[in-house]
Amino acid sequence: MIELKNISKSFVTSSGAVDALRNVTLTIRDGDIYGIIGMSGAGKSTLVRCINMLERPTTGDVLLDGRSLVSMSERELREVRRKVTMIFQGFNLLMQRNCLQNIMLPLMLQKDYQKDKAKARAEELLNVVGLPDKAKAYPAQLSGGQQQRIAIARALATDPKVLLCDEATSALDPKTTHQILELIREINQRLGLTVIVITHQMSVVQEICNRVAILENGSVVEEGDVAQVFTDPQAFATQTLVYPEMADGSASLVADKTATQRIRLIFNGSEAASQPLLAQMAIDCGVLASVHNASMRTVGGRMYGYMLIEIPGGPEEMSRAVSYLRKQPLVSVQTVGRYPAQGEAAASAAPSSEEGGAL
């Protein structure tokens, strides 16, 4: 378990002190794939470097399985860093060394280094990352995705307990990103590795993380289960990340403040896509709802997101619709007045996504 306790970090620059992190407190459980997301400049990279003390926090502490890293000597920290390894946006392989030698590097740094053993281990890891034939290839001969695989293999060489991913897929195309994330997920499940993913891409969090913290201006503004945060983003920063369409401010939403008969449906992992919910409602209780807007995402094969629907007619139709929808599994129902004005304003600006159309 990794506990970040009130981490603050300030840098002194020529234009004065800059607070990169302010009072960050997070708990990352063993086996989590924990996402830390934020816009550039939010302090993500500084935060992840505090976890292995490449950056020492100005105040606060990091506890790794209860041991305080802040009070450790450089020598002790070097031991810790063999168990908390890291991959990077730029892969950072040694360009003058072949893949096998790159993977062997962390083993060469160990006191009990034995070349044969290290070589065998590196060959084994080449298999794990799916590049068994690249042992003798040099990084310059590999694609970005392959280089990141080698970097992952290198990070796994010392049998770490925690893998820190600093924008590890930001330099990759969407397809390669997907493959690398799959690999990370597989490693997480097979080796029980705790993974901390730093990213500015919500899609990355959505694809592999189970928990997420949203960082803005060096502070954690929201934290929780990914499904929860996706479904019902509270902080404004989270909303702009989850529904980036809203960020452009084209929110002409309040078009109908008069239309009081609105329902917000929140999908908490229902298999809604296979069931045309609104059409079914029209048949079953004769209420014809129109979709005002919706934003849905599929996370792990299940639907998360929200849909704002309008119910024409009077209060009677409204209550029929509400009671019908409340019976649906894994869907929660809110009448419009119940959620905060800012949330509504933001939500209404989002155009319907194609998943929404399927319902």
């Binding site: 490449l54 810790v80 890291m86 990077f88 950072n92 003058q96 590097l105 310059a140």
Partner: protein, 235 residues
């Protein structure tokens, strides 16, 4: 210099005899002095360059500021003394090491003294080219500063080091000609003592040609080695 009288058949005949008599021996002396001086300059300059990079205030193993300052001052001082004057200045040192201050072997000492600060700066430049991200990666693996130097910084800068050492060897070759002026051996000495001081201009030009060929040779070998060593180039 009178070209009309410098290249008469008799003069050329005489020059050819001098070339046959001296050139092989003197060229060998030049190569020998150049290579040895470069070697010693690297032996001193390489670690010094590493210290300059690692010990920097922002380096991976910062050393006391006064020490770094002293090193930099010494290097800058040695780099700014003209080579001819440096040869004279280090005569006591040369006597101490070689036992004499004249001759082929003795000229190695001033060459090394002149070249090692140059090499240190070249090494410094090469090592600073190594991506800070790669160094950070090594730190994230728990590498000690020494391991970062030996396993990351030096191997990563091998092609650049070879290129710079090639630059050093050609520069030192140029210096050997100057040391010929003050008792050193080699083709530079032939050029000055026979070609210039005894007006055998044909010999002078022949010496220049030999020097040009040597520089070309060293440069070609160096470039070839650097290319061969660089794994960033896709084959």
């Amino acid at each position: 210099m009178n070209f009309a009288t410098a290249f008469t058949p008799e003069k050329l005949q005489e020059a050819w005899e001098i070339i046959q008599r001296d050139f092989l021996r003197e060229t060998w002396a030049t190569v020998y002095v150049t290579v040895l001086a470069t070697l010693f300059a690297i032996i001193i300059g390489l670690p010094l360059g590493c210290i300059l990079v690692m010990g920097d205030a922002k380096g991976i193993r910062p050393l006391p500021a006064w020490l770094m300052k002293t090193l930099n001052v010494i290097i800058n001082f040695l780099r700014s003394v003209p080579f001819l004057i440096l040869i004279v200045m280090v005569i006591p040192l040369t006597r101490l090491i070689v036992g004499t201050s004249v001759g082929t072997v003795a000229s190695i000492v001033p060459l090394v003294v002149a070249a090692f600060p140059f090499v240190a700066r070249l090494v410094e430049g090469s090592l600073r080219e190594v991506s800070p991200n790669v160094i950070e990666t090594a730190q994230s693996m728990g590498a000690t500063p020494m391991q970062i130097l030996l396993h990351v910084m030096l191997p990563e800068s091998v092609p650049s080091l070879i290129t710079n050492f090639t630059l050093a060897i050609t520069t030192i070759l140029g210096y050997t000609a100057m040391s010929g002026a003050i008792g050193g051996g080699g083709i530079g000495k032939t050029a000055i003592t026979i070609g210039y001081q005894r007006y055998r201009y044909a010999v002078l030009y022949a010496c220049v040609i030999v020097l040009v060929i040597l520089v070309q040779l060293f440069q070609s070998i160096g470039t070839w080695l650097a290319r061969k060593a660089d794994k960033r180039l896709k084959q």
